[in-house]
Symmetry: C3
């Protein structure tokens, strides 16, 4: 689905590192906005995949489920903030994440953290999305 949001990657600055994100996304006036809580890799039945990649994939599916509940999809995502355990896992996460964005990643931030609310969670990410009409 086409989004009403506008991506900015100005030519007078270095391109986004490794091409993994967009420098900014603009939401037009009169949009509704969705603020998504920090999502983790827990499956609908409450179980948790063991591997990092599997948790990232399930986390992205969970984000997709929340977006769908609001009549939105990944094309409407403006910003993703992710919390990882290492720089290496940030890069791995971004690669998996971007398969859900179909070549047009949103604005993102990712930081290394010493822990999350549950020590079994290997990643957490929250999202802002917006859609006109």
């Amino acid at each position: 689905m086409a989004s009403s949001n506008v991506t900015h990657n100005p030519a007078d600055m270095a391109p986004p590192a490794r091409g993994l994100y967009s420098h900014a996304v603009e939401i037009p006036a009169n949009s509704r906005q969705l603020f998504v809580a920090g999502q983790v890799g827990v499956r609908p039945d409450g179980s948790l995949p063991e591997g990092f990649d599997e948790q990232v994939e399930q986390m992205m599916r969970n984000i997709g489920a929340v977006l769908a509940s609001a009549g939105m999809d990944f094309a409407d995502v403006v910003k993703v903030n992710a919390y990882c355990r290492s720089a290496e896992e940030i890069i791995a996460y971004a690669g998996i994440r971007n398969r859900f964005f179909d070549g047009a990643p949103p604005a993102t931030t990712a930081i290394v953290v010493p822990g999350l609310a549950n020590p079994d969670w290997l990643i957490e990410a929250d999202v802002v999305a917006a859609k006109q009409g």
Copy 2:
């Protein structure tokens, strides 16, 4: 006060961990929004409570004061991001926080951090709120 925002907890994903938050909150178009700086447990006179629980309670009162300044209250809060020192303190904070939300918690994220701008601060949280009209 009733809020114009809409909570999303879709049935096709696991419910929010420990029931402590909502998966997402949607802001309708034509809302004004309030972005609140990271708040800490400093009292109006500049003093700082010693205990963790006391700092969380004062932090929540500070958030309430900022909301009131904009003609909003806790029912208008969309997102809370908190920065704590341990997973245990994240759970303790969420319990105290939710007494201010009257059974309808917003979307939240909480991460463990190694430090804040002042080593005496035991917690910090920032907030997004929104209200129509």
Copy 3:
């Protein structure tokens, strides 16, 4: 440029620590919003300054370039979230940052993190901005 956003620093709470930020900024309805990805101190040619202060200054110039791409400037910034390596560097960053805000700093949050996506990056910050019309 005058901004359509409204700053809140209510008198019934302690003023912002060290006067370095505003307690909240309100965006009126019918504003367009810009969500800026985590920016770092990389120059337009891809090189990275060695010193912390130099990286902060370049990061702020990068934020300025993204704002300009959306027809905005620093007066339209609502929130800045920064990720630093120590409490001391948070204070140093805030001083440099505020030279770009001309006496009217936005709402901010800053936390200490153990790492960013690239170990050479000494600071990262993301921004939300908004403008009517």
